[in-house]
Symmetry: C2
Subunit: 253 residues, 2 copies
Amino acid sequence: MSGKLFIIGLGPGDAGMRTPQADAALAQASDLVGYGPYVARAPEREGQVRHISDNREELGRARHALEMAAAGRIVAVLSAGDAGVFGMASAVFEAIEQGDPAWRGLDVEVVAGVSAMFAASARLGAFLGHDFCAISLSDNLKPWALVLRRLRAAAESGFAIALYNPHSKARPWQLDAAFALLGEVLPPRTPVVFATAISRADERVQIMTLADAESSRADMRTLVLVGTATTRLVERPDAEPWVYTPRFAEDVS
Amino acid sequence: MSGKLFIIGLGPGDAGMRTPQADAALAQASDLVGYGPYVARAPEREGQVRHISDNREELGRARHALEMAAAGRIVAVLSAGDAGVFGMASAVFEAIEQGDPAWRGLDVEVVAGVSAMFAASARLGAFLGHDFCAISLSDNLKPWALVLRRLRAAAESGFAIALYNPHSKARPWQLDAAFALLGEVLPPRTPVVFATAISRADERVQIMTLADAESSRADMRTLVLVGTATTRLVERPDAEPWVYTPRFAEDVS
């Protein structure tokens, strides 16, 4: 088979955070596949076909991309941030494993990107400056009890936490339930950040304490960062404080 | 003060993974500060001064950079990967907090980069394809008991794990002790990857099971990835398998 499948992380939004590797892959592609707002970020190129799909149809989109690559097209599947971090990469390999055995002979290349959580952490200082974890709050593909279990384990053992998919129209109570659980483990003054549309024109960063955190501050484009008991604010004149998690830690048990 | 301090993540090594933002910051800088092999990656520029220091002197290096910025220089502190992930960002904000109060008035910009763990995960497929964590094995700044506690919590609750600083000349037993602990929790067939010098000319990727993992495979430039009980290999003809962690999970309790 002569086709190729790229799975590209476009970075958080600003083109200055998109890598030359991603640009080179976009320039080669005959077909772009993805959620509309991500595909819209790719530079226009004559003859390139754009296949837009809804954000929740990962597996169907992955199969469509694989079929086109198997037919000889140069296909680029697009994700925001890094495609391996709650993006399209895992869905594509799931589709390959379950699909046409010939797909295993395809040339597949995952192009890493700047993750939104690191762009948010950098924007604040060094929020994820030491051991940290990333958890998707979505319970579409895992039980909510497991989400809570992971949150508790992370907070109890002193990981800073990046919460992906914090906002759900179907389950608006989830993020507040997560904050309530975290409040049983972490001090009320633990820094929490709502980072929305990081690096884009309408970027919004809200720094508060865990005690004040509430779900109404998040929307579809928000990433929530939760600190550890050691995460610190560095106040500065005429500007928002920097927030960082120190490299050193004591045992929390 | 008219100086500026950039803290730049250069990405894992290949210039194709260095962002345009990082390039723009490097082009502005009057002074580059960092560990020799990282500074050597920056394009040569006439008149730019390079301040090389040993890899373990983070806080001294951070203070030196802040002093130069306070004196009006445009200083770039360089890290590999993302500067916020076990890089220089946290050390700089620690130095600011403990140092000259005037440093809080400085213009400091953290330029996010492609993290080595995501480049490694992409190279394999989607190794960190769902909830995951990053842990530094170094006990220079935290007790070893806390490292073990975090490892156990992560494995027990089903996080994929990226192990930073897995290799220590001073404590060569640590990585094997970590594998032994993980072996108490995870199945022997859990995928483990030693990813060395990712994206560089001498890149080496070794895929094995947890039962076969041993510390002698790691050196100073190795990142170790440990899967979950659900992490899967997708065998393919005439090539190493892809490795991915599925998006779905069942409760592990």
